[in-house]
Symmetry: C2
Subunit: 384 residues, 2 copies
């Protein structure tokens, strides 16, 4: 049965992350899983907080499994709003929260609600590779603006990229893959360049908001940018990625907010999510203030940095998330990734994030695996 033309093209260029996943399986079959150093996938392996298991067990025994309003349980939305008001330093109530099937679901819902055929959405390279698909799903066109040398958004370049068709700017902080946190000054500058454009939304994709190091925190997009929405999830903060639970929070300053929320709720319904998974909504409401032990990721971050330092490789200083974005020798990310594969080390070329010349290493893997990769990494650099 012939598939859609666009899907056939997508499959032909299937993601670099997936290619590495398949390569990892091939290598593991030959050498054994323990002899493959697979830093390709951002799949949290840290246990969820104990509160999550406790909440799950409680609701598993007594819960309601039926449909609820498409926006989610009213009590869950109210609880999330209370927490989000503190987190984002704005006044939110349940009417500004929509429960979603993770951040991936949240972003699709937002883009479905906002984009017309041919609408443009600006992304900042390096960007999470799925953005292109999410935008094109809803008739949009992705316009990429390269970050500055510090991996922070180049606001003047973004301003130059605005057109009459621009409907949204997606930002992602802490950033996947660079690990950088976008400072308040960047958010204020973004607010300024769209101050006269109520038709442009800033969409903040924030699944890593509380995975930050060295006492840093992430400035609030909702506080600094009136026309903004946050899409987030419990995937990383509560280590629940497979369970698909997250939410959208709307800036209280958005104009025609009720109409927007109606469109978001309808998008959640008609894209087939219908509602965020019911049980996980209840768990998230119980545990929303909790978080995995970030100290575990911090120790891995330091181990990964040491391993890169020992190999003489340069990287963006990671302030959050669990990725190291490393400059490829000779600027050849595709070639160097191949050289790493020969040492059974898997990472993802920056080309997949719209940023050639760099390589992403995920460090949601145990510290010993990270340290065990050190020798092979050195050999790969020496040979390349």
């Amino acid at each position: 049965m012939p598939v859609a033309n666009r899907m056939r093209a997508y499959s032909a260029n299937s993601s670099f992350i997936r290619k590495m996943f398949e390569e990892g399986n091939r290598l593991a079959a030959i050498h054994g899983r323990e002899n493959v150093y697979d830093f390709s996938l951002g799949n949290p392996d840290v246990a969820p907080p104990a509160s999550v298991l406790e909440s799950l067990s409680r609701h598993a025994a007594s819960m309601n499994h039926g449909y609820m309003p498409n926006a989610g349980y009213p009590a869950v939305r109210a609880k999330v709003a209370e927490y989000a008001s503190r987190l984002y330093e704005v006044e939110l109530d349940a009417s500004g929260i929509l429960m979603t099937c993770g951040a991936g679901g949240a972003l699709n819902v937002i883009l479905k609600a906002l984009l017309d055929e041919g609408s443009e959405v600006i992304t900042i390279a390096p960007y999470f590779a799925e953005y292109r698909f999410y935008i094109e799903n809803h008739g949009g066109r992705m316009v990429t603006v390269k970050a500055g040398a510090d991996f922070l958004p180049d606001v003047a370049a973004i301003q130059a990229a605005l057109t009459g068709r621009t409907r949204a700017i997606i930002i992602n902080s802490p950033n996947n893959p660079s690990g950088r946190i976008y400072p308040a000054g960047t958010l204020k500058a973004l607010a300024e360049i769209i101050a006269e454009r109520p038709d442009i939304a800033v969409i903040a994709d924030e699944p890593y908001r509380r995975l930050v190091y060295d006492g840093l925190s992430v400035p609030s997009v909702l506080k600094h940018i009136p026309n903004s929405l946050v899409a987030t999830s419990a995937s990383k903060e509560l280590s629940l990625p497979g369970q698909r639970i997250g939410f959208i929070a709307l800036s209280p300053a958005i104009g025609e907010r009720d109409e927007l929320m109606d469109a978001l709720i309808m998008a959640n319904r008609i894209l087939g999510f219908v509602n965020a998974p019911a049980l996980m909504q209840l768990v998230l409401a119980d545990c929303i203030a909790d978080c995995v032990d970030v100290g575990i990721y911090d120790a891995r971050r330091k181990a990964m940095c040491q391993v890169m330092d020992a190999a003489g490789l340069k990287y963006a200083e990671p302030e959050g998330a669990f990725y190291l974005f490393v400059a490829a020798p000779k600027g050849d990310d595709l070639g160097f990734c191949q050289a790493l594969v020969e040492e059974r080390i898997l990472a993802v070329p920056g080309t997949g994030f719209g940023y050639p010349g760099y390589i992403r290493f995920a460090y949601c893997y145990d510290e010993q695996t990270i340290r065990n990769a050190a020798a092979g990494l050195k050999r790969a650099v020496a040979k390349f």
Copy 2:
């Protein structure tokens, strides 16, 4: 913030089911919830089988919460395939099963994988109202063919509606809203008219497959139509609609099946589902052969038929699902629904299902509520 033009149009024509839901809330606020006879929403209230709660509790204590392959846990897909092979009387293995976020998610994934801009999808009126949105989400155009007087597909009319752009025919049996089961002869006739069109898929939306009465069973689309896919869910059979778990099963006879499965998996990923909710995949694998007590629905069906008979109303003989599709007096479904509201009885006009002149009553409500509505129903008929 302006929303997409299409979404604004959708909101303006928001669904009849939702309008009834709002009307129900308004009436309940005035008269008390117990004095409103709300048959508008198909939200199962029967308890899930005990096995579901047992499975949930077990996995809640020990489960893995991480990402898995986008198609679902391999062991879950294998277990579902084993069951589906028996159910659909074809040889299926894990490679023909994709775990999804309910049947709504499954249908969106299939349409995303198949449709190009301007592709046509045939639906049979009366149809589940969400089909139009699902089709338009992915650039398709819905083409409606009216069922025969028996509410079964008119295959000659479907054949006449085929064009070079037709990519799929969606069927739904047991049917929402008519409750009719499409017989094997209909499926064979459908197979015949598309025998020379490998580009046309029959998509069977089957969430009610095992909610059938009087010893009937639903003929297998996968057995009778080579180019077919089933989209289904545990929402009704296990009473888990809020949990969003279902699957797609592919006919083993589909050509280029691996390419199709790759496209379906990619669609599941990039629409933001990423994967079906992890915990519920495990529960479904444990409980897939179980089912809610259909006897409860059967008793309600009989009560609902008695109430209609007493009011002198005619309806399609329901063979499955939990809806009665009732002829509106004078053929005026919108008017008679309004007359029912005055008696605090809520049902959904057939206009919302592409079939004016009839009204859908959902009977997933307790028997007493059904019987309590009898007097008001009679009064509405007498006055209309």
